[in-house]
């Protein structure tokens, strides 16, 4: 897994982000973190809180979220999750949206009711990016896209 992470970090846009090493790399990984005002010591707590808060999630959404959190779990050993500042919201009372704001804009991942996984980015300069994928998407690449935007 470590090799996989190293490979991705070197080959994806994350490496090009000046913020990565300055802001995200964290030497202390064994601490209690907070996500969206929820204190979690591991991703299981966060996952359970998502299921409780967004009770509309269907089977395929849950499966996709599990895949994403698995990728996130790999990254938590390398990055301080407090600096990721991932927030959660529902869209149309049927879809789960994870979003975060950076100096460049706002990036979003939506797990919709039809099993689609939508990545979108809106830049402070007006730039707009959108990609719609199915459950076969490489979740680690999606995660890096999300946190490096």
């Amino acid at each position: 897994m470590e090799n996989s992470l190293t490979f991705l970090a070197e080959d994806l846009v994350l490496k090009q982000s000046e913020l990565f090493r300055d802001e995200y790399v964290n030497s202390e990984i064994n601490q209690v973190h907070t996500f969206n005002e929820l204190s979690v010591s591991d991703l299981d707590d966060w996952y359970n809180s998502i299921l409780m808060k967004f009770s509309f999630l269907n089977e395929i959404q849950v499966k996709n979220i599990q895949g994403f959190l698995k990728a996130l779990g790999y990254v938590l050993g390398e990055i301080d999750p407090n600096k990721l500042e991932i927030s959660l919201d529902s869209v149309e009372d049927s879809d789960l949206m994870l979003w975060r704001e950076s100096n460049h804009g706002i990036s979003m991942i939506t797990f919709d009711e039809y099993g689609q996984i939508v990545y979108s980015f809106i830049g402070k300069n007006g730039k707009k990016i959108k990609g719609t994928f199915d459950q076969n998407i490489d979740m680690e690449k999606l995660l890096y896209k999300f946190i490096s935007a």
Binding site: D89, E92, W99, D112, Q116, I122, G123, G126, K128, I129
Partner: protein, 189 residues
């Protein structure tokens, strides 16, 4: 247009006797009233049939942005809408007819075509009021037909609504109206 019956609204904002001005201009500002949280991520809270703003006609003295906080609903017994922020958007480019028009073709079904258009829509007590009007295959979407048009079920309509939300959110989030900027499609990750 009927006469404004709200005594606290200044005469300069009354619409009676004034014309609709369909053309907008570069540099003109639009003002959007919203809660603080929506300044960051208005994505999911924006309705897709009534996105109201105030315009300023490039005249910040007679049409200051604070006007957007006036309550123009006579059923509410307040002069100003409390606890709201004002988002300012600047028009950077326009179509040939002097307004903002964005055509969005469904990726799933090219026969489904949505249009977002900026219209001057004066109210009796708020002359600078304007709206982003959304239509689907030339049918203007409103509260009554929303469920039978743009809000139909299925991933095709879901994706088209998502595209519209990105456009509208971009306008508010980036504070820029740019007719020439399209959504870049990401096909591979």
């Amino acid at each position: 247009m009927t006469e404004c019956s709200l005594a606290y609204i200044p005469n300069r904002l009354h619409s009676l006797g004034k014309e609709i001005i369909p053309e907008f201009s570069i540099g003109e500002e639009l003002y959007y009233r919203c809660s603080f949280n929506d300044l960051v991520k208005p994505y999911q809270s924006i309705s897709l049939y009534d996105v109201s703003h105030n315009r300023n006609f490039n005249d910040t003295i007679n049409y200051p942005k604070d006007d957007v906080l006036y309550n123009i609903d006579s059923d509410k017994n307040i002069e100003r809408i409390p606890e709201k922020e004002i988002s300012t958007t600047v028009i950077k480019s326009l179509s040939e007819n002097g307004t903002f028009e964005k055509i969005l073709v469904s990726k799933n079904n090219p026969d489904l075509i949505a249009k977002i258009k900026l219209n001057h829509d004066p109210k009796p007590c708020m002359y600078p009021h304007c709206v982003f009007e959304i239509s689907l295959n030339n049918v203007i979407v409103n509260k009554d037909n929303y469920g039978n048009t743009l809000n139909k079920s299925g991933s095709t309509y879901k994706n088209l609504r998502s595209d519209i939300r990105i456009e509208l959110t971009s306008i508010i989030y980036s504070s820029i109206i740019d007719n020439s900027e399209d959504i870049e499609i990401l096909t591979d990750l």
